[in-house]
Subunit: 256 residues, 2 copies
């Protein structure tokens, strides 16, 4: 059962959180029991699903220390089939270094995700930017990985490092498979954006780049302000439709 | 002599590298002897200053291990007063975890930046996203820090964690001072972008947010593709002019 999907990129701000939230919400919208896991100590997922508020409450950090069990940290959302695990207190304290060593040293992350999988969840994991200890740990327990690639020159230039990092992780965990690269913030009206998308498709094997591209839309940005995934808030928005298509594709490949 | 400026944000993709490159280039353009230091293992600075190419050559990683001296890793650029220290081989291997522990364990970073300062350089340091060991190390040796804040809801929502992280660093290193927050990728024609800029100015002390805002412009994105800072490539572009203004302000405050 391939059921744990990690969203990874060493480049920051390319749409990892936006992709994780909207793929998870779109899968849940199709009736797939989905668990969205926020492994980024920034804790951005909570804002995208409207769970912000003063008290962050227990999260993954508390599970890794053994203080809490899975049932204490799973949170419901407006969608019946979407549950969320938040990063926990680290998102408030901001002590990333302590969080990183906790994740690197604890064996409980594998147990946590395997337990969720055994309960029939399809698990979507958001990760911090970079290829540090947290990302390595997540790749060690994931089944599949997708890499958002922003259609801007700088994101393209750092892609080879990204793919090298993924290939190393795949060689260390033969069960892991790179599902593909998804082009994000694509701007049809920008010649540069089109050039980058063409370049990526020419340079990489065809099955490595998803056909569906996520366009840059104002509705996607506004959805975060409203605390709702764009697939729910404005389902007719081109980015929402593209995420729906991507989720349908991933659902078919992962839910057997 | 306050001469070491760090550009820091835990949020990814907010314009740290773009800000570090263009502030450094604009300072050098004004005749200030400037050293741009890339502490991000992604190694994005090299693309912005046209130093990409197959062989990355020695960099900071090599200095920290003791294999190279400052003179072996300083590189010239098209600008007479701008020199650059690249991240080094890590940008090729992508082994971020090893790089992080090297930076965290070595005392040579402080020596490196102090030596550059003593040679009369104003040092501008680009950092990786997050508040991990590399950022902590840089904040421990910097004099000033600026925080780029992208005018989008998600970047705003994670600001309080950012400021908390900076305040902790300042409490640990009394010599460090937060120069200010610079709003980036501002879009005059977007009501949401304007709302965010207004909100930030209302919520934070007036002297903490620079008056100058960096607009989102196509020229800034294209400059990266061309391997040149936008302040050099299209000096009349609104973002180039804004970076020029920011550099003039920082130069006045830091070069005594
Ligand atoms: N399709 C899109 N259209 C418009 N804006 C988008 C789109 N996708 C993401 N964004 C915006 O771009 C910014 C970065 O996106 P996001 O935070 O999801 O990236 P990330 O890779 O998770 O960042 P980090 O590296 O900090 O974790 C956010 O402000 C988000 O609202
Ligand atoms: N003023 C601007 N106008 C338009 N695009 C911009 C502007 N500033 C930055 N960008 C683009 O936004 C993207 C992110 O910028 P940049 O890489 O400098 O951010 P960063 O914070 O250094 O990212 P990371 O977290 O990966 O280090 C890049 O593609 C860059 O070209
Ligand atoms: Mg994110
Ligand atoms: Mg950067």
């Amino acid at each position: 059962m391939t059921r744990i999907l990690a969203v990874v990129s060493q480049k920051g701000g390319v749409g990892k959180t936006t992709t994780a939230i909207n793929v998870a919400a779109a899968l849940a919208g199709r009736g797939v029991k989905t668990l969205l896991v926020d492994m980024d100590p920034q804790g951005s997922v909570r804002f995208g699903v409207g769970l912000q508020g003063p008290a962050v409450g227990p999260g993954i950090g508390d599970y890794l220390t053994g203080a809490k069990e899975l049932k204490d940290i799973v949170r419901g959302t407006a969608l019946p089939f979407l549950r969320v695990l938040l990063a926990g207190a680290v998102a408030d304290t901001g002590d990333h270094a302590a969080y990183q060593s906790l994740v690197a040293s604890s064996t409980r992350l594998g147990e946590l995700l395997a337990r969720a999988r055994d309960r029939g969840y399809l698990v979507v994991v958001d990760t911090p930017p970079g290829l540090g200890p947290v990302v390595h740990r997540v790749l060690a327990v994931a089944d599949r990985v997708i890499v958002p690639l922003q259609c801007e020159p700088l994101a393209l230039q750092t892609t080879s490092q990204m793919l090298k990092g993924i290939r190393t992780a795949v060689s260390e965990h033969p069960a892991l498979k790179l599902e593909g690269i998804v082009l994000t913030m694509f701007e049809e009206q920008s010649a540069l954006s089109r050039r980058i998308a063409d370049y990526v498709r020419r340079q990489l094997p065809k099955d490595l780049v998803f056909d569906v591209m996520i366009p840059r839309t104002a509705a996607t940005v506004e959805a975060f302000a409203a605390g709702q995934p764009v697939v729910l808030r404005t389902p007719d928005d081109p980015a929402a439709r593209a995420y729906g298509e991507l989720a349908a594709l991933l659902g078919k490949r992962m839910v057997r």
